[in-house]
């Protein structure tokens, strides 16, 4: 039964899909390096645009009719980048015990990252389980898929207080539900969706003749899954996992604000927002923190992709 995998193997050696399949590995590294450089250049360009617009843009912003389409260039609306970075090095408040702002934001970022990771794991597990169920039973697909799609139309602000309320009533033995679990649950609620849909598409992606071949060998569903469907789904799964990671981060930040959990980036964003008028660099710090969390989360999925690279034939956007 090794035919399929051995056929697939030479195709998957390249790091970046079909086009690169026969190139030696080093060019993959070089490609990645070049990608990183381009990413950095994009960042520099963004910073440049910010400062250029701030210097040369109209003081009152670009207004079309009564609608402001580009912001004012004042120091309040658009602080200089160096104001933001200088502020990060200063303490959060004037209190003697106050941490430097970067340390407080980093601690908040780690807290949010941890919650998002739990939410992501739960979401991915549930998403995969649902996808398998729907792949196995056509009836399950017709029954569950509409609800999965419907679930994402429920606004987060409606479910957040409910989740916290229900969670508060859960207690058995030593275990009691804590607020961060509510946030993780909300993050998983957002994260499971792309995984279930992406995995379902991935599991259904093998060619009919491959599936028929399995039938000819009278291979059971589990073995077909392991040998054919799962490897074939990787290309669909990885973008879904990345989407799930980003959704989990966004979900965590929003849910933290929504239910008022202390310790994470969401709370810091709201708490520091009040300083926008008199300490304009401060509210930007947690925003950078949330970007950092998103990058780390996406990077983690990239790492998974590295592990699974032999199965990545081509990535399909989710």
């Amino acid at each position: 039964m090794s035919t399929t995998s051995e056929q697939a193997a030479p195709l998957t050696r390249g790091a970046l899909g079909v086009a690169k399949q026969h190139q030696p590995r080093r060019s993959g590294v070089r490609t990645r390096l070049r990608g990183g450089l381009f990413g950095l250049a994009g960042l520099v360009l963004l910073a440049l645009i910010w400062e250029l617009y701030k210097t040369f843009g109209p003081v009152d912003g670009v207004v079309i009719g009564t609608l402001t389409v580009l912001p004012r260039t004042s120091d309040l609306a658009m602080p200089h980048l160096w104001v933001m970075f200088e502020r990060v090095l200063e303490p959060v408040t004037g209190a003697a015990s106050a941490l430097p702002l970067w340390a407080a934001v980093l601690a908040g970022s780690l807290f949010t990252l941890g919650i998002a990771a739990v939410g992501w794991l739960v979401g991915v597990t549930v998403g995969l389980a649902l996808a398998l169920l729907m792949q196995r039973f056509r009836l399950a697909e017709s029954a569950i898929l509409p609800w999965i799609i419907l679930s994402q139309t429920v606004p987060l602000i409606a479910i957040a207080p409910l989740v916290r309320r229900w969670g508060a009533q859960i207690q058995f033995g030593e275990f009691s539900w804590e607020s961060w679990m509510s946030v993780a649950l909300i993050a998983s609620y957002l994260a499971f969706f792309p995984v279930s849909v992406g995995a379902l598409r991935g599991l259904a992606s093998p060619d009919t003749n491959h599936v028929d071949l399995m039938h000819c060998y009278s291979v059971g569903w589990w073995k077909t899954l392991w040998r054919l469907r799962l490897p074939a789904s990787v290309g669909y799964l990885l973008p879904a996992l990345r989407l799930a990671a980003v959704s989990a981060v966004v979900g965590s930040v929003v849910a933290e604000v929504s239910i008022g959990l202390r310790g994470g980036i969401g709370r810091l964003i709201v708490e520091y927002a009040g300083a926008a008028g008199n300490d304009p660099g401060k509210p930007w710090a947690p925003i950078f923190g949330s970007i950092l969390v998103g990058l780390v989360a996406a990077g983690f999925v990239g790492l998974i992709g590295l592990f699974l690279r032999r199965f990545r034939r081509e990535e399909v956007s989710a």
Binding site: S2, S5, R72, S74, L76, A77, V92, T93, G94, A95, A104, L110, F111, L113, G114, I115, A117, V118, L121, I157, A160, P161, R164, R165, A168, Q169, E178, S179, W180, W226, E256, V257, S258, I259, G260, L261, R262, G263, G264, R267, L268, V270, E271, Y272, A273, G274, A275, A276, G277, N278, D279, K282, P283, F300, L303, I304, F307, L308, R310
Partner: protein, 382 residues
């Protein structure tokens, strides 16, 4: 076979990474808000309407100073959040007491929440509309033709009532949705901005006035105070579950104890603003030091000096609030409530007992001689 081993290896490393991430999350930021409970203490939960900040200094001080413990209560303070409605949490039975504004709760009561105002902690309203002196906006009638900011979501009623009282229609002003910072006001988009005396007003005073190069001074601002305009509504009060007050004698007793200890906490905060501000900061607030102190001092002004003892619900102030709630229309023509609230909506029964006990202990519950401190705000509230 080789293939299979690779798969397992991949899964194994994924699980290991996942476990690492999980272990990093095991410590959560929710420090217990109460000291270790001995078996005799009754656990109680108080639901706030926002994050920890000096607006709730009295409750945090009562926990810190052991006033609740003295009464046999082990009080946990639950912070609010953007989508946490304290009266809903209370009505659902997930908290024993809640802090909320009367007009916001009146709407919930009309929709079926059976809860009772058992102590009106803030006697005065802290809501104002502030404007720069040169805009010349001194009373509600001066708002005509101006850009007027409001946060909405139930924070707008005193403004609307004040305008209605002065004969200013909603169409006469340009109502602007105000964000939770004062940049709109500072940028000049909003002429008269909504501001709580203990928070946003201070945010402006912590900002450098570009014209003078120094911090904004109170004499550079005009303030419309709804207490003076006669359309103030009752704000922070302690709400209890009305059903449980009837059916559960222990809960009714504990309500007296809870109010008593809370009032002691507020007296402590008023007399020791610096310590109280420190307690709130230690409880997790990240507000700047001078801003926190300002807030402590300003909320104390809403309580002291007290007309009838801290927490007593003044009948005329209550009916004024109800009156505004029934007769003030918002931009969609709706009012907060359409009928008189039930008699269970407030009671002085428990606060009277609490005040009697405090008086018997020789506690000054009026604070007639209390004087606010002078707080110097620093730039950025630091």
């Amino acid at each position: 076979m080789k293939q299979r081993i690779k798969w397992f290896g991949t899964l194994g490393s994924l699980a290991a990474v996942g476990a690492l991430v999980l272990s990093g999350c095991s410590s959560d930021g929710n420090a217990p808000t109460s000291s270790d409970a001995s078996g005799a203490l009754t656990p109680m939960t108080l639901q706030l309407q926002w994050f920890a900040q000096a607006q709730f200094a009295g409750y945090y001080a009562a926990v810190d100073q052991g006033y609740y413990e003295d009464e046999g209560l082990d009080v946990t303070i639950d912070e609010g959040g953007a989508d946490i409605v304290p009266q809903d949490v209370l009505a659902a039975g997930d908290a024993d007491y809640a802090i909320s504004w009367v007009p916001k709760v009146l709407g919930s009561i009309e929709q079926g929440a059976n809860i009772t105002n058992v102590a009106q902690i803030f006697e005065r309203s802290a809501t104002t509309q502030i404007s720069l002196k040169d805009k010349n906006i001194r009373t509600a009638s001066d708002l005509v033709g101006k850009n007027v900011g409001s946060w909405g979501y139930g924070n707008e009623w005193e403004l609307f009532a004040g305008m209605q009282k002065s004969g200013v229609e909603l169409g006469d002003i340009n109502l602007i949705q105000q964000a939770f910072d004062m940049t709109g006001f500072l940028a000049g988009d909003i002429d008269a901005a909504q501001a709580m005396t203990y928070n946003e007003y201070a945010q402006v005073l912590e900002t450098v006035n570009p014209d003078t190069g120094e911090l904004f001074q109170p004499d550079e601002l005009n303030v419309i105070d709804w207490n003076e305009e006669g359309t103030a509504m009752l704000q922070d009060s302690i709400w209890a579950n009305a059903d449980k007050l009837q059916s559960d004698a222990d809960y009714a007793d504990n309500t007296v104890k809870f109010i008593k200890a809370s009032i002691k906490g507020w007296i402590y905060a008023a007399n020791n603003p610096a310590e109280a501000a420190g307690i709130v900061t230690a409880a997790g607030s990240t507000l700047g030091e001078s801003h926190q102190l300002w807030m402590t001092n300003e909320v104390s002004k809403l309580i002291f000096p007290s007309s009838n003892g801290v927490g007593m619900i003044d009948e005329s102030a209550w009916s004024n609030t109800v009156d505004i709630a029934m007769n003030t229309k918002n931009e969609t023509g709706a009012t907060i409530i359409t009928t008189e609230p039930p008699v269970t909506a407030y009671t002085n029964e428990y606060v009277t007992k609490a005040l009697d006990e405090l008086k018997a202990e020789g506690v000054d519950v009026l604070g007639t001689d209390w004087k606010p401190t002078e707080v110097t705000l620093n730039e950025g509230g630091n």
